[in-house]
C-alpha cells in the first residue's frame, strides 16, 4: 500500500511536469498550425497502442486476445492515420515561414 502510494505520487509528479511542458509549448503554436496540431496530438493519443500491444500479446484468454486484436487495429489506425494526415498538411506549409 505504502509503496503503491509512493508510486502514485511519483506518477503524479510526472503528470504535473508534463502538463506544464504541454501548456507552455502548445500555447506557443500559431493558429495556422492548429489543424495539423490537432491531428498530430490525436496520433500521439494513440499511445494507448502500448497497452493494446501488451494485451494482444499476452493472449492468456481468447476473448482478451480478440479484444486486444481489435484494440491494436483501432489504435494503429489512429496513430498511422493521424501522423500521415498531419504530415500531408504540414508538407504544404513548407517553404513558407518567416
Amino acid at each position: 500500500m505504502a509503496t503503491e502510494l509512493s508510486a502514485f505520487v511519483t506518477n503524479l509528479t510526472l503528470f504535473v511536469l508534463a502538463a506544464f511542458v504541454g501548456y507552455e509549448i502548445i500555447t506557443k503554436i500559431p493558429t495556422n498550425l492548429h489543424t495539423p496540431l490537432m491531428s498530430g496530438a490525436n496520433a500521439i493519443s494513440g499511445i494507448t497502442l502500448l497497452g493494446s500491444v501488451v494485451v494482444a500479446g499476452a493472449g492468456e484468454n481468447t476473448l482478451a486476445t480478440a479484444l486486444g486484436f481489435l484494440a491494436v487495429v483501432m489504435a494503429t489506425i489512429n496513430v498511422v492515420g493521424g501522423y500521415l494526415v498531419s504530415h500531408f498538411m504540414l508538407d504544404q506549409f513548407r517553404g513558407g515561414g518567416n
Partner: protein, 482 residues
C-alpha cells in the same frame, strides 16, 4: 516468460526507452511552433511513437506475435488508406474519426486487461479496476461521441436536436448507470462469483454500454459547426485516459504522452471557444445555434436592399483596384474553391495588385482550417494575414472579396444585441470601398443569424457556388487583361 529484450536487459532499459520516446514527443511539439520546422516535428513525434511501440512489443511476453502483427498491419493499412484518399476539406471529420478509434482502443484494452488478469488467476486490485472504469467511461464516450461528430461533419448525421429536457434527463441517467457499474466493478469485482459469464467482468461491459449511449446523447444535440470543439475536447479526454492508464501500468510514456495530448486538446478547446466568444458550457449544452424564427427578421433586413452582381462586373472592379483582400470561409472549403481562389490571387498579384488573404481564426470548421486549405493550394505563407493584421487595412482596400464566409464577416458581432455571435471579433470588410460576397443564397451561416453586411450599399452579392464563381472570375479576368 518475458519477451526478447526483457531477457537480457534490466527493467530500467524499458523505462529509458519510454523516456526517450517522451522526449521525442515533446521535441516534436516544440518544432510545431513554427511552420518551417513543423514537418520535422511531426516526424520526430512519429519516431517517438515507433520507438515506444517496437520496444514494448519486443519487451513483453508475446505469445501471439502473429495476432499482434496482423493487427498492426490491418490498422496501419486502413490508416494509410484513409489518410491518402481523404480530401483536405474532409480533414475535420477524419481527425474526429481517428480520435474515436483511439478512444475505442483504450476502452477495449481496459476490458481485455481485466479479463486477462482474471484468466491468469490473479485478483483485480483497486488500482486496476478504478483505472479500467475511468478508461472505459472516457474511451466509450470518446468513441461514440467522435463518431457522431465525424458523422455530422460529413453530413451523415443531421442536426436533429433532441428536446433539451428529455435529452438532459437521458444523459444524467446513463452517466449515473455508468458510474454505478464502475463502483460495482471497483468495490465488488467478483460480484457474480463463479457464474459462467463472471470471467467476462460483466460490470465493465455494462459501464461501457452506458457510457456509449451517454457519448451519443452528449454529441447529438450539439450543432454541426461546433463539432471541432467537441472533437478537441474528446481528444483531450482520450489523452487523459491514456495518462490514467499510464498511472496503473506505471508506464512513463503513457503518462507523458497522454498529458501532452490532454493539454493540447484543452488549450485548443479554450482557444476555439474564445474566438467564438462563447463559453464551453454554452457550446456543449446550449443546443443549436440560432432559432429559425429569425427568418422574418431576415426579410426585414434584406428586403429591397440586396444588390446582385456578375463576374464581369466584379472583374471590371478588380481591373481598377490597387488593393484587394480575399476573405475565405467555410463555403470555400465545402466548394473546394481554394485552387480557383489561389489562381485568382496569383493573377491579381502578377498584374501588380496588392492582394492578400484575411483569415479569421475560426473561419471554416477547425482552427487553422483555411490556412491548411490555402497552403494546399500553394498560397505563399506571407499572403495570409491574421485578423489583427488585416483589419486596420480594410479602409485602404478597394475590393474585399468574401468567398463562402458569413459569420466571420457579420457586423452584428460588434453590436451587443445578444445574438449568438455578439462579442466575437470579426473581419470588418464593410470598411473597404466595395464588398463582393460570394455564396449560393442569402441563407445564414453556422450561427443561423442574418447578416446585415449583405444589405449594405457598398456590398454586392455574387450568387453561386464558390468554386464556379471563382473560376469565372479567373477566366474573365484573364480575358479582360489579355
Amino acid at each position: 516468460m518475458a519477451g526478447v529484450l526483457a531477457q537480457y536487459l534490466p527493467p530500467a532499459a524499458l523505462q529509458l526507452a519510454y523516456l526517450i520516446a517522451g522526449i521525442l514527443f515533446i521535441q516534436g511539439l516544440r518544432d510545431m511552433t513554427h511552420p518551417r520546422t513543423a514537418t520535422r516535428g511531426n516526424q520526430i513525434s512519429a519516431a517517438g511513437m515507433f520507438l515506444a511501440v517496437v520496444v514494448t512489443a519486443l519487451w513483453f511476453d508475446i505469445l501471439s506475435p502473429l495476432i499482434l502483427g496482423a493487427g498492426l498491419l490491418v490498422g496501419g493499412g486502413i490508416g494509410v488508406w484513409l489518410a491518402v484518399t481523404v480530401e483536405t476539406t474532409e480533414m475535420p471529420q477524419l481527425v474526429g474519426l481517428f480520435n474515436g478509434f483511439g478512444g475505442g482502443a483504450s476502452a477495449l484494452v481496459a476490458g481485455a486487461e481485466l479479463i486477462d488478469v482474471l484468466a491468469v488467476g490473479d485478483s483485480l486490485t483497486i488500482g486496476l479496476t478504478a483505472t479500467a472504469a475511468i478508461a472505459g467511461i472516457i474511451g466509450s464516450v470518446t468513441f461514440w461521441g467522435s463518431l457522431v461528430a465525424a458523422g455530422k461533419l460529413h453530413g451523415l448525421v443531421g442536426d436533429s436536436p433532441v428536446s433539451t429536457n428529455v435529452g438532459h434527463a437521458i444523459k444524467v441517467l446513463f452517466l449515473g448507470a455508468a458510474v454505478v457499474a464502475g463502483l460495482v466493478l471497483v468495490i465488488q469485482p467478483d460480484a457474480l462469483g463463479n457464474a459462467p459469464m463472471a470471467s467476462w467482468v460483466p460490470s465493465y461491459w455494462v459501464l461501457v454500454a452506458a457510457a456509449s449511449i451517454l457519448g451519443i446523447f452528449l454529441v447529438v444535440p450539439i450543432g454541426g459547426a461546433d463539432m471541432p470543439v467537441v472533437i478537441a475536447l474528446l481528444n483531450s479526454y482520450s489523452g487523459l485516459a491514456a495518462a490514467t492508464t499510464g498511472f496503473v501500468l506505471g508506464n512513463t510514456a503513457l503518462i507523458i504522452a497522454g498529458t501532452l495530448v490532454g493539454a493540447s486538446g484543452l488549450i485548443l478547446t479554450v482557444i476555439m471557444c474564445e474566438s467564438m466568444n462563447r463559453s464551453l458550457t454554452n457550446v456543449l449544452f446550449g443546443g443549436l445555434g440560432g432559432d429559425d424564427g429569425d427568418s422574418e427578421e431576415m426579410e426585414d433586413i434584406y428586403e429591397g436592399n440586396i444588390q446582385e452582381t456578375s463576374p464581369e462586373e466584379v472583374v471590371m472592379l478588380l481591373e481598377t483596384a490597387d488593393r484587394v483582400v480575399v476573405v475565405p470561409g467555410y463555403g470555400m472549403a465545402v466548394a473546394q474553391a481554394q485552387h480557383a481562389v489561389a489562381e485568382l490571387v496569383e493573377l491579381l498579384d502578377e498584374h501588380g495588385v496588392d492582394v492578400e488573404f484575411g483569415i479569421h481564426p475560426v473561419a471554416g470548421r477547425m482552427p487553422g482550417h483555411m490556412n491548411a486549405l490555402l497552403a494546399e493550394a500553394d498560397v505563399p505563407y506571407d499572403k495570409m494575414r491574421e485578423l489583427e493584421e488585416v483589419n486596420p487595412t480594410f479602409s485602404q482596400t478597394d475590393v474585399a472579396i468574401v468567398c463562402g464566409a458569413n459569420d466571420v464577416v457579420n457586423p452584428r458581432a460588434n453590436e451587443d444585441d445578444g445574438s449568438p455571435i455578439s462579442g466575437m471579433p470579426v473581419l470588418n470588410v464593410a470598411e473597404a470601398n466595395t464588398v463582393i460576397v460570394n455564396k449560393r443564397s442569402l441563407s445564414p451561416g453556422f450561427s443561423g443569424i442574418p447578416n446585415p453586411l449583405f444589405a449594405r450599399d457598398n456590398t454586392s452579392m455574387l450568387f453561386g457556388d464558390a468554386k464556379e464563381s471563382m473560376q469565372d472570375l479567373v477566366n474573365d479576368y484573364k480575358e479582360a487583361t489579355d
